[in-house]
């Protein structure tokens, strides 16, 4: 039977390095994805995820299982991501005015010839890619706290109470925050939402 996160963390506290390795394997992908969707830069997301694991390791001696491990983990990640987004906001605004449009890994960095080879139905592929891009951009446009709330709610499937603890707000404030975020997404994605309903 798999050990719980809390048990693994208590074992790390007792000096078991292999338990830390298991936590790393369990949470590396969710953390990197959460941070990538927050900061929109793969390398930065990986750096931040490494920092999260390092902070967990550093705090092992003082760890007390007073809350869910995931709540603690994503609280560290969210704080790092929000700080990073706020620190880089002005820098990115300056860059975006004159920098050429770059394509990151998730946006697809395939050359046209590769696309034609891999996807026989290229028209359908391009439509799907445009659709994904629209969804990603709708998420990116959310204010950072709303974005964090949606990502934790939708992709990490955390309880309202846990998300509220991570974002340091009340549960009712979180519900309002999420409602506003989904409202914005509904408006931004209106063309897709309308087609989805048909």
């Amino acid at each position: 039977m798999a050990r719980s996160d809390v048990q693994l963390m208590l074992d790390v506290k007792a000096g078991d390095e292999r338990s830390f390795e298991l936590l790393l394997q369990r949470y590396r992908t969710p953390l990197v994805n959460f941070l990538y969707r927050m900061v929109r830069a793969r390398e930065e997301a990986e750096d931040l995820a490494q920092e999260v694991f390092l902070r967990v390791y550093r705090a092992r001696k003082d760890y007390v299982p007073s809350a869910k491990f995931t709540t603690w983990l994503f609280r560290i990640a969210t704080n790092l991501a929000l700080n990073s987004v706020r620190d880089n906001r002005y820098q990115r605004m300056e860059v975006s005015l004159d920098a050429p449009v770059t394509v990151d890994a998730e946006d697809g960095d395939e050359k046209p010839l590769d696309i034609a080879e891999k996807h026989p139905n290229i028209e359908q592929y391009l439509v799907e890619e445009a659709r994904k891009k629209m969804i990603r951009h709708a998420i990116d446009k959310l204010p950072e706290k709303q974005r964090a709330a949606v990502l934790l709610h939708k992709y990490q499937e955390l309880d309202y109470g846990d998300i509220a603890k991570i974002l340091e707000c009340s549960e009712s404030a979180l519900k309002s925050l999420l409602f506003r975020a989904y409202e914005t997404l509904r408006v931004e994605l209106a063309p897709l939402v309308a087609r989805h309903g048909k």
């Binding site: 590396r28 992908t29 990197v32 793969r42 694991f53 309880d159 309202y160 999420l178 994605l189 309903g197």
Partner: protein, 160 residues
Amino acid sequence: MENRILAYVDERLKESERLEMEKHLSACGACQLRVNEFRAVTSLLDEVPQIEPSAAFDARVRARVAAEPVKQSWWAWFTPSPRVAFAASLLLLATVWIGYESKTSLPGIDQKEMDAQMMQEMQVLDDQDVISSFDPLKDLPQPVQQEDQTNQTGQPNQTM
């Protein structure tokens, strides 16, 4: 009702709340539309693909963890270290040995003889004749006699 729409879509409402919501939805077209649209939004969010961490990710985390300094608690200061204990024993041994050697190695001086010499020197210091006939002391100014003697009642003597 607004805040409950999302929880209803997520199926996170309690049974009683869900029944109440469904009762409301059957009579409210706007809320029913909003529920359908929120369901569409959450479904669209599922289309965003996941990325995988790079191949070097785990190795980087391990390297950073390995580079962490080993912290010792302050209590560890009190735990005996074999090296320190050995060094302290040697120091103690050396101190005792040096003390013993210095006592026994003073040649030809008898303890009684040393005591007698010391007593003789002390007598010289105590001899007032020696002090009074000590020439350098004669050059010192004589102590001033107190002229204004106060009388027994504490009043100063008046000179007319």
